[in-house]
Symmetry: C2
Subunit: 194 residues, 2 copies
């Protein structure tokens, strides 16, 4: 029989960014706390698998049919993201009052992931159905995210909807000296009058 | 009802050194993996609480009556540590073939934690019973760990056992320029002929 501490350490180690030492600390934390807490922790882990599903409108994680964002917010503006976790980042800014659309990835020709492998069709359906005014592309600012945004923009424009993209430039609080040249060039090209 | 993702995030957040963002990453990792993995992870958490107990000889965590170290190693040399996790650190060096003794803390007068609140009596019993030749004090190199080591050494010496302390000095790979003055002074005082 394998040692229970080792087994738990291995599970903690499988979490993103967790090394052996950190996993051990986590395991010891569980040992040193109450059994009740361990049981509730364990229950919470199984619960997310059992109760969390995808919002049938936007694809965000939710424990109801339609997520709380889709239930309450302005459906005329859709922000398109690659993954549900991107929604958490966007929600932190607190000033966006539209809804989201999760693509679940982006177009990756090298991995044979084409437009039909992500939720583009569902986005077009939503735009057609809900009289959407603006679609904000918030895919990642890398080659693949960029290409995906361009591809989707091309499909949306004929529908008469305004398509925008998150601005790219130097990050707030950064130091010009250390900004990479690609970002700096983009920031120069997109410079704005003050 | 509270959101299952939030509940799980809170549990992950209670782990040592985990902030909100990291906890969220962990929760999403669980969501994105199989239900089977989640169930096994949950089981592993409850299992450590149910199966792991303290070795009745040394106090180390074990799933049997007596830990594997106590079962196989030289009982004439005892290394005294504050916590079970210190044993893991010691075991990494792989050259110690003695056994351990866990104090479960150290003497902390400011917190009203006296000699009777840690496993000193049990250590004396072991030394008396097992014809121990050497006790190595591996308590933390801070004021309280130091005082605890001195206190225990005083109790052990009359029993005719050799008591030693882990050497203190500059750490391997460090830079003299950045070594704190207390350590440097200790290293100077304990300098050894080469």
């Amino acid at each position: 029989m394998q040692d229970p501490i080792e087994i738990l350490t291995e599970y903690f180690r499988s979490l993103p960014g967790v090394g052996k030492k950190t996993a051990q600390r986590y395991a010891f934390y569980i040992i040193e706390n109450s059994r009740e807490k361990a049981v509730n922790f364990a229950k919470a882990i199984v619960d997310v698998k059992d109760k969390v599903k995808l919002c049938k409108e936007c694809g965000n994680y939710t424990s109801s049919e339609v997520c709380s964002i889709c239930q309450t917010r302005n459906k005329k503006v859709i922000c398109v993201v690659q993954e549900p976790k991107d929604i958490i980042a966007m929600e932190k800014i607190k000033s966006f009052d539209g809804v989201y659309h999760v693509l679940f990835g982006c177009i990756k020709p090298l991995e044979n992931k084409g437009p039909n492998d992500i939720k583009i069709k569902e986005l077009l359906d939503r735009v057609n159905k809900n009289d959407v005014q603006e679609v904000i592309m918030a895919t990642n600012p890398d080659v693949e995210g960029e290409a995906t945004a361009m591809y989707i923009a091309k499909l949306l424009k004929p529908l008469g909807v305004k398509v925008t993209r998150l601005a790219q430039g130097i990050t707030i609080g950064s130091d010009i000296e250390f900004v990479d040249e690609v970002t700096l060039e983009k920031a120069l090209r997109s410079r704005q009058e003050i």
